[in-house]
Symmetry: C3
Subunit: 647 residues, 3 copies
């Protein structure tokens, strides 16, 4: 792992060239050592098709680099210029109702469009060839925020041609497709692949197998699009190639994209995400409105550490109020520093703030930067500067985090349960995230794993909630696993073709039960558990009267356990999730530390970090029961302490 460092996003094309040098000097003075540029500059790099104007970028790189900054250079493919549409009039994606996703903002392209893919390859090669040898370059970024603005699934002609070809390649025989999808059900059988349309717009719901394959196809387009650029850059450059993912985007398989890149990164906007992408109750949102959800960033840190196979960055870090959530408050003083340190504790190599100076024009003019539009210091700059000083003066952060618990996250499951939730509130991301929160509320440090994991031996406990279908790898890993495992609810309830497995859910021979039927629950029909808390959203009725370790008050099995393998027969609410996971973790020999709602703990090989997301101080030592800790941890503050085995 390279040394931890800070960076900032910069758009030289937005400012007079005469400002660049001073901007660079101020960055360096603040302790910033990386600068990300270029990802939206295509109309300046090539104002007219074929008319390349790279000289300004040469000078920008030279100016920034000369100041001592390392550069992340982005390919500009997320924002094709207007002339591109004249060359490729059918390159735009179409939405679910067929509407054109028009020019005038960004991400206006269809991943399936072969012509646009060629244009992207061309501009990537031009940049890779020209800048690979720059001494100032430190890394590459391909495109920007794949999938943002609902751009993975497209219903365009280009996508339809691609989808049919993809299906023909996968199934070869149309009869096999009919059988795999169960098309006999409503006389939906096809005679040839070219009769197949998108699954949108059907009179009532389309076949879920049809939808699942369309999601798979769409996800693979993203991976292919990304891979193409990475392959080109790699021909010229040995620098790490990254993409910057977003928060709670599940429309494509990030593991598949990440497999072809050198490291992952993501864009962390704690306040925007809390307001816009959280299932939390309004009271929770109000409590954390200026701090962000205490688990959302950590979850993505851990997820993208897995996607990056250990290597990951924060490519964009919220530095103040943003412009895009329904409500956009300012962070509490201290939160920008806290967020940065939390990322570092979870193993981030570089944390890059978005953006240097607030733009006084266009869509994001209400998005804060480290500078205000008139170049004064915005509050985020002081906090970034403080982190830079702390980094420089403090001990090296050992990494990655030291996780005793593993949690499996699977993008296909997210597609599947969005296609056929069976209950209005069933959402896969939410389920996994609530498990993650339940583990964190027990003070645990977690690794997130791909469903293709083949070795679980590092962990005392592995949790597999809501998995669509077992992978060979995970099935094998589990069968030889000596730690404790919790699976369910809904885990293993389908085949890869989105059917019910012949052996019935959870489709795991080691468990001597099967799910007889399930219930999705109205919000006012949650079911109390005998041990406290409730099942809500979902519960399952399983066969057999043995191995029951927990029941709902109506006497139905709520958790079953055979040896070290537990099956969770429902979706626990926060109280029950914390209790049940805590009990199992203790049973697995893991030391738990029950935490209040706003306090979080992360363990690294050498240290324990404590983060206070609450708006009030917390009596840390007393709450945690460890007198070696500070008595009080202030709001929006963190504590970094040595790890002692005895604790």
């Amino acid at each position: 792992m390279t040394g931890r460092a800070l960076g900032v996003c910069y758009y030289p094309e937005h400012w007079p060239e005469s400002w660049w040098e001073e901007d660079a000097a101020r960055m360096v003075a603040a302790g910033i050592t990386w600068v990300r540029i270029g990802e939206f500059a295509w109309s300046r790099l090539e104002p007219v098709s074929g008319d390349l104007r790279l000289d300004w970028l040469d000078r920008a790189i030279a100016t920034l680099g000369a100041a001592g900054l390392k550069i992340v250079l982005g390919t500009p493919t997320a924002a094709p210029p207007r002339w591109m549409l004249d060359r490729h009039p059918d390159m735009l994606a179409r939405g679910k109702t067929g509407q054109l996703r028009k020019f005038g903002s960004r991400r206006h392209y269809d991943f399936s469009h072969k012509g646009y893919r060629e244009e992207c390859a061309r501009i990537t090669e031009i940049l890779a060839r020209r800048y690979s040898n720059s001494p100032y370059l430190g890394a590459w970024q391909v495109d920007n925020e794949f999938g943002c603005h609902d751009t993975v699934l497209s219903y365009s002609s280009a996508a339809l041609i691609g989808f049919r070809a993809w299906l023909a390649t996968k199934y070869k025989d149309i009869g096999d497709l009919n059988a795999a999808w169960g098309n006999v059900f409503w006389s939906m059988e096809y005679g040839e692949f070219d009769q197949i349309d998108f699954p949108n717009g059907t009179v009532t719901e389309a076949n879920p197998s049809h939808w699942l394959d369309f999601h798979r196809f769409s996800s693979e387009q993203v991976a292919a699009f990304s891979r193409r650029q990475a392959e080109i850059i790699r021909r010229y450059s040995n620098l790490p190639i990254l993409h910057n993912y977003m928060g709670r985007i599940t429309d494509f398989d990030h593991f598949a994209v990440g497999a072809e890149l050198d490291a992952a990164s993501w864009d962390s906007y704690p306040l925007g995400f809390l307001e816009d992408r959280s299932d939390a109750a309004n009271s929770w949102k109000a409590d954390f409105a200026r701090q962000g959800d205490p688990d959302f960033q950590a979850f993505h840190h851990d997820l993208y550490r897995a996607v990056g196979r250990g290597r990951w960055w924060v490519m964009e870090q919220q530095p103040g109020p943003v412009n895009w959530a329904p409500y956009n408050p300012a962070p509490l003083t201290g939160m920008v520093r806290l967020w940065t340190w939390e990322a570092l504790a979870h193993g981030a190599e570089i944390v890059i703030y978005f953006r240097w100076r607030q733009a006084p024009f266009a869509q994001e003019q209400m998005h804060a930067g480290l500078l205000t539009p008139d170049s004064r210091e915005a509050p985020g700059l002081a906090e970034a500067t403080q982190v830079a000083r702390e980094l420089a003066s403090g001990p090296e952060i050992e990494g990655p985090p030291l996780a005793s618990v593993a949690l499996v996250f699977d993008y296909q499951s997210a597609w599947a349960w969005s296609i056929q939730p069976q209950g209005a509130d069933f959402n896969y991301f939410r389920l996994v995230f609530e498990v993650y929160r339940g583990l964190r509320l027990n003070g645990l440090t977690i690794d997130i794993l791909s469903p293709d994991v083949e070795d679980l031996s590092r962990y005392s406990l592995v949790v597999v909630p809501g998995l669509l279908a077992w992978t060979t790898g995970l099935r094998t890993a589990l069968s030889g696993y000596h730690g404790h495992a919790i699976i369910g609810p809904r885990t293993g309830s389908k085949t890869e073709h989105f059917g019910i497995p012949a052996s019935m859910p959870p489709d795991l021979l080691a468990l001597e039960t099967r799910v007889a039927h399930v219930e999705s629950l109205r919000p006012d029909c949650s079911l109390p558990l005998e041990g406290g808390g409730h099942f809500y959203i979902w519960r399952e009725i399983t066969d057999g009267s043995s191995f029951i370790v927990e029941r709902t008050v109506d006497g139905v099995a709520a958790m079953r356990r055979q040896g070290r393998l537990s099956y969770l027969c429902g979706w626990p609410d926060r109280v029950a999730m914390r209790r049940l996971l805590g009990e199992i973790a203790q049973g697995a020999g893991i030391r738990t530390t029950p935490l209040p709602d706003g306090l979080r703990r992360v363990e690294t090989p050498g240290e324990v970090f404590w983060f206070n997301y609450a708006a009030e101080p917390v009596a840390l030592a007393a709450v945690v029961g460890d007198s070696s800790l500070p008595e009080v941890l202030g709001p929006a503050d963190f504590h970094r302490g040595a790890r002692t085995e005895s604790r």
Copy 2:
């Protein structure tokens, strides 16, 4: 009436042929004597246009029949195969915004499309000719669930051509249409019929007369589509021909469709309908989440008994959790039996469970069957078996129910008040249903009548809420009627052309009042009645100070009565509805039995049935005040007792 019996829906094409015999044997062992097949099998009957493959159906019928089962054979026209679209590319319906209702699920056809109608006639004739003489056949079903998935109104080219022709036939002179619709109002006058478009997509609301005629046209397309199949079958077969209607579908006139068939049937999904198609408050939905609304099934039983002119079945009975409501809980143990018995008490000839074995593929894989996908018994099977035993051992159920009260239900009124509700919460079905519930909460047994009824002499009380316009038949029947009648609110407030009648609402000379104006009420502006309860949603200000028998607390007349004719000047809430209807029923000499929310009573010529929909036991004898009844009736249980005149 034939003997009461049970059946099950079966899809031989979904299972290996080798399973059929054992499946049939298990059905028979459970006491099931009917099996419904065929209604989605077109792609297997004719995999390619003109290539008929009926041999498997021959064998399926032979196998099932040989086991002792009588067969209901469905025409497969609700699910045209994919090749049909190649032959009739314009056969798809279009939705209100013009969107194509695409292939990929079911019901993807436009009722107006002449080419598809011919294809349906062809396949119907093929089936009718081949199977009419089968000794195993017991009945025919045409198509499946007309109107389900919002498929009655179509905005396609085929529908537009049809609509214009229909208008030209109806009005002959375009000036007559302009006059009937009042098109002078906003210069909306047409010069010729071919200038008329659908009423959708106008800048602000279209003329309600325009909408009403479009509803009438659309409803007639359904009736014509159904009639065509019935006529063909009748040429070959004397067996009863049915269609299976759905719950709370009002887009077409079921009386018109039913007039050409031999019996009605409907698909009864108590839990799905409570969650998805009920206006009840959330607390009511929570109380009955695993039992269904205590009145919804009964209402449709009585409605379809009228549609079937006395003969009706349940063609699909929910056997466990379904897949299509926002939340899908499992029924309380006992409810499948209770629902079945309730249908029988209301006069159902046959009750058929949907479906035999849960499908492990495609859209309905989360819909329970009597068997689980791995062929084990699901909970519904035991309850069905119990009913079969009870039927076999118990006395014959006399029928139909013995109703002292009649309630008029009119599909045109449902269209009219959806077109121009005048208040966001005004819904015709809801109004009639709440009247029905109010009557049931008084322990009454009800007949539902078509607005074309010409004889009311069997009833002591008739209720006519919210009727758009008087029919000649009903006007005549009322004028010679010697029982009590309640009309209003909104009854008789329009002409057949959707204008205000010259004599003003309620357009009934027998009533010496007219509605001066109306109010639609905010949910927080309901109006207390002097006698208890409230008017909500709607109230009317009527002329005159005489004949007032109830007032709202602001002094406005709430009910008027002249002799045996009462006018209800608003929409009573549950408390007021129960009270007012109870008082009138008593005034009409009907014995009432006030019931708690979960208990219901049905009277037949020889018996009284009591159904407990509550999740708790009810102290039946004490609550009803009849010591001859059992002391306690358990949750999800029913009691069947002899009718004693003295009670």
Copy 3:
């Protein structure tokens, strides 16, 4: 100002010609002296293109005029007949998703369509030429309710051609447009004007500068459409030309339309607007459900007085229940009279009721008139008659109102903050309206001003909330102004091109502060003010520790004041708004009269009017602290008293 008078809307084409004379006589008997006709009659004036049939209109005018009525004649261009579409198939507007706004109701035309503009010029000239010399004519109305039913912004081909030409004229060089809009931001730069599309349908939000120019273009189309008719009429007639605006329509600049007309008018539907166009809480809506919002009418009276440069009418006054709001109750007895008098107190010349007789057909058959459909008196007629008598017998109303406070209202700001609200609840109309209510709750009388005002010297206090960008006029007026001024929140926060001004918000040198950043607030995150009440929806963090006169409890400046210039750093709720505005008004030497929620006060040069909107009587003298007033003012009643300097 002409003498105050009452009128009624009448549609001779809806009734038998034989009724006209008696209708006219009844109007006159009721004290009505004006009648508005003609605005939807095009299909009767010209049933087929070019086939003019004006004879019936000649006779209608003659009959009405002979009875003593003055006539307002409307051009019928809001409802083009069906044949117009055959002549101009592309004349329909298109909505934001591209959908055609079809024929079948009204307002089905695109303001940009040149062919339709010519047709309108033609019919206007025909009417102007024929009726200008009629002795009975009193005024002209052009079209009807511009902008109603969301008809200003159109996404049609005609609009696109127009928009591109408009941009080319405005910017001349495409590079200037790119610079003004900041199109470099996401490579959104254009090479030529014809590459520019509408800003709808982009993948994520379009450039706000793009939207703002589209709004400007669209607004100018309305003004040009209106001006064309006015210019034609003016060639033939000296009578006043008006248009009837609606309530809370902000899609076009009414000041620009009004500048070319002789007087303004508007259509006042207090109950419909409260239910349908109010941000008030449900409890407020319930309290005033039968009276209307106590400030909504007054606001529009004052706004349209400004639009009409002092001259204004009510062209349509609600006379009873309407048909178009989600809930449509009837007004309390007395409210029709109260609304009429309130308009007169605010300076209305004529108040015209809509409509004479309730139509028994078509879209508005549930909209009350002064007569019921069977020609009996509806409740509104008695109240209108009473006002007529009161007008005839009472003293002349001096006018216009005597305002000590001015409030600036700017349509461009409404567009801007709808384009980029930065917080889900930020709405410009709502902000200005809540300021207006806060002033009224202090008993103040208000003038509303255009942002182009150049002289503020008549006022002791001027309030400028939420203004997008300073106009030269207002900037100059403020700099020489000797009264008190309150600006903010958000005032001066943008340039005319929708960028952040170089000197930073509020872009006013007189204020030694700048807005560093802003927060939009969740509804559950409002911020208490030290002096009482809260900021909600919005607050700003401003620079500097001086000049702070109010803080939120978190210590942040909530109001700053330098001399007589105050900056309001957030959006006060009702409690805070009333308090802060009252304190400032008193500081400006204005006598305030704190009023309860339902009571309002209007001052004219000679009188003070008191209006009781509450459903209960108010103890007027005690509440106001003026023993010369009546002790009690009944619900839905008003009091008119002499103005005494001492009070």
